[in-house]
């Protein structure tokens, strides 16, 4: 039998057009939600304690006009004293710290000393998502007056701000070889360079803020997996260890929650708790609250899991003693995580103030662990509809 005569493809141009249109449609359908997410902002109401809102680029011109430039809320007391910097959203998929600083900004009033608060130190990561992990783009927190919507970000800045990725990230100035991804991770790019890769510019600007403003204490808020040993803790270098330990002992005895102290390793570079201490006079503290959402062996990555931290797989692992925190059917709710960040920070500030009265920081209006667990975090959010327009900042 002879082979059938091969026919030319039917309308090859038409097929190409159809495929091109399909690809464009998929790109638009997938891209529009990501574009909206990248440009979405949650209203932060500058409370009575906020005296000004400045930019991180005010401390380093390398950030001027860049998408990654961050807002800095300044809360000055009438009486001069010590100064503390609080940073959240270093890893924008660990949102407890971000909610804690929103509460501080909207409620706290400083009597003595100054607080500097950067709600999102990695702006790009907070406007990025983790492709392939099924992350929700947003989560809502209920309040008495409606729901407040927040962007769920991810760990690393978007390639839109930092491209291309290197094969390995060579840390500056130690030349330690880190993962290529760490070039976009603002907890590996400390202490940074004024005109280095974009995330180094961000951390450099924060270093400059700490050096120029003579910041006494720096807090970097995180969340960590329950299966990771460095969780539910304060990571502190030797110079901060005493205040961290005192605070850890006090919150355990007075407020009834655990947060142990982990030493900051000397030989692992780029981390805030290491480099801030080594490159300035500031005492750094990195706070980790457990976040079951980030553990690997969980069910779907839903908003519910993000907020209540309840997961059946973690529960069975807890029974086999595979977790580094106590874990039961109550999960590890957001209110508790936010409360831990808040109370641990307030306690470290209090201990520091007791030991160095001339550099004391005194503030009021911030809810503590028990308040947040009892009332829920939404209770402490201010209704932007009732705020003066000039006091609303979209973060």
């Amino acid at each position: 039998m002879s082979a059938p005569e091969s026919k030319p493809l039917a309308h090859p141009v038409r097929v190409k057009i159809v495929l091109a249109v399909l690809a464009a449609a998929l790109t638009v359908a997938g891209g529009v939600p990501l574009f909206k997410h990248r440009h979405f902002g949650t209203p932060f109401v500058a409370g009575p304690g906020v005296t000004k809102v400045i930019k991180l680029s005010d401390y380093s011109p390398g950030l001027k006009g860049r998408f990654v430039d961050a807002d800095v809320f300044v809360m000055e007391g009438a009486e001069p004293g010590g100064k503390a910097l609080i940073m959240a959203n270093t890893h924008a998929n660990e949102p407890a710290g971000y909610l804690a600083v929103k509460i501080l900004i909207e409620n706290a009033v400083v009597q003595k000393g100054t607080l500097y608060i950067i709600p999102t130190i990695n702006v790009s990561a907070s406007r990025n998502t983790k492709a392939g992990d099924g992350y929700p783009l947003y989560y809502d927190i209920p309040t008495d007056w409606g729901r407040v919507r927040f962007r769920m970000g991810t760990r690393d800045a978007s390639p839109l701000e930092s491209w291309p990725d290197p094969d390995v990230y060579i840390h500056y100035p130690d030349k330690q070889l880190l993962s290529y991804l760490d070039l976009r991770n603002t907890n590996r790019t400390w202490p940074g360079r004024p005109n280095g890769p974009m995330m180094e510019r961000v951390t450099y600007a924060a270093m400059e803020l700490m050096r120029k403003e003579k910041i006494d204490l720096a807090f970097d808020f995180h969340g960590a997996e329950t299966m990771f040993p460095v969780t539910n803790c304060i990571v502190a270098p030797q110079k901060s260890a005493k205040f961290a330990t005192l605070a850890s002992m006090m919150v355990k005895a007075m407020e009834g929650f655990d947060s142990h102290v982990e030493p900051s390793p000397q030989n692992f570079r780029g981390l805030s708790h290491r480099e801030i201490g080594d490159f300035s006079n500031t005492l750094p503290f990195l706070l980790e609250a457990p976040i079951p959402f980030l553990d690997q062996p969980t069910g779907p990555k839903t908003v519910k899991l993000l907020l209540d931290g309840k997961d059946p797989f973690l529960l069975s692992l807890a029974k086999k003693k595979k977790l580094f925190v106590s874990y039961d059917a109550n999960g590890w709710p957001m209110d508790k995580r936010v409360g831990q960040h808040m109370s641990t920070t307030l306690e470290i500030i209090r201990q520091f103030s007791k030991k160095t009265p001339d550099r004391a920081i005194r503030l009021s209006g911030a809810p503590k662990y028990a308040d947040l667990v009892r009332d829920g975090v939404g209770k402490y959010f201010h209704d932007p509809a009732k705020a003066e327009p000039g006091r609303i900042h979209y973060e």
Binding site: P229, V230, N232, C233, A236, Q238, A241, K242, A244, T245, L246, S248, M249, M250, K252, A253, M254, D258, H260, V261, E262, P263, S264, P265, Q266, N267, K321, K322, L323, F324, V325, S326
Partner: protein
Amino acid sequence: MKKALVILFAAASVVTLAAGQTAVPKAKLPVLTTSAGQSNDVNALNIVLEEADIKYDYCDVPTPEMVAAGVGLGNKQSAEGFHVESTTDLAKFPKGTPFKACLVAIGASLKGMGASGLTIDTEEARVKKLVDYCKKNKIFLVAVHVGGEAGRGPAGSDNERMIDAVAPLADFIVVTKDSNKDGRFSKIAEKGKIGFQQVDYALGLVDIVKKMFN
């Protein structure tokens, strides 16, 4: 706040009646504080002594030679991954006075051991030598565990090896309630007929060390 603290100390000093608890033994100064496992708990221990107004010498990784050098730890200076602090009252205990007691904060931390260039194996070997020296030289050895559940970690963890290296050979064991949820320490104390106290919080140790050294 002051009042709250006083109440707290009072509350913390009401010792929980756990099985097998014994009276707080008397120990003598000068005292050395150190770590088995390089966790931060030795900082907690030092803070406890400061709160109790008891002066101490501290080294995170002392060698038997340093302990043998007595108060002042042979004038060794702190360096990277090696910390020495001598607050002992030199008027009462001049440099070189042999230590009469050694408080060991048990708790393994990979980060802490890494910072001192140690692995769990080298740390275990180091701790065993130290314990051995204390036993041979009749230095009153106190095993302290205040790390709670986090400081115990999953079963079979590095912490368990540190506990085994120190607690069964101690002259006195004092732990927080959280650290002894599974009764691990009360069992060791019972088996070895070792003095044992359990406190609700790490701050409760202030009262214990006061009783011990007064």
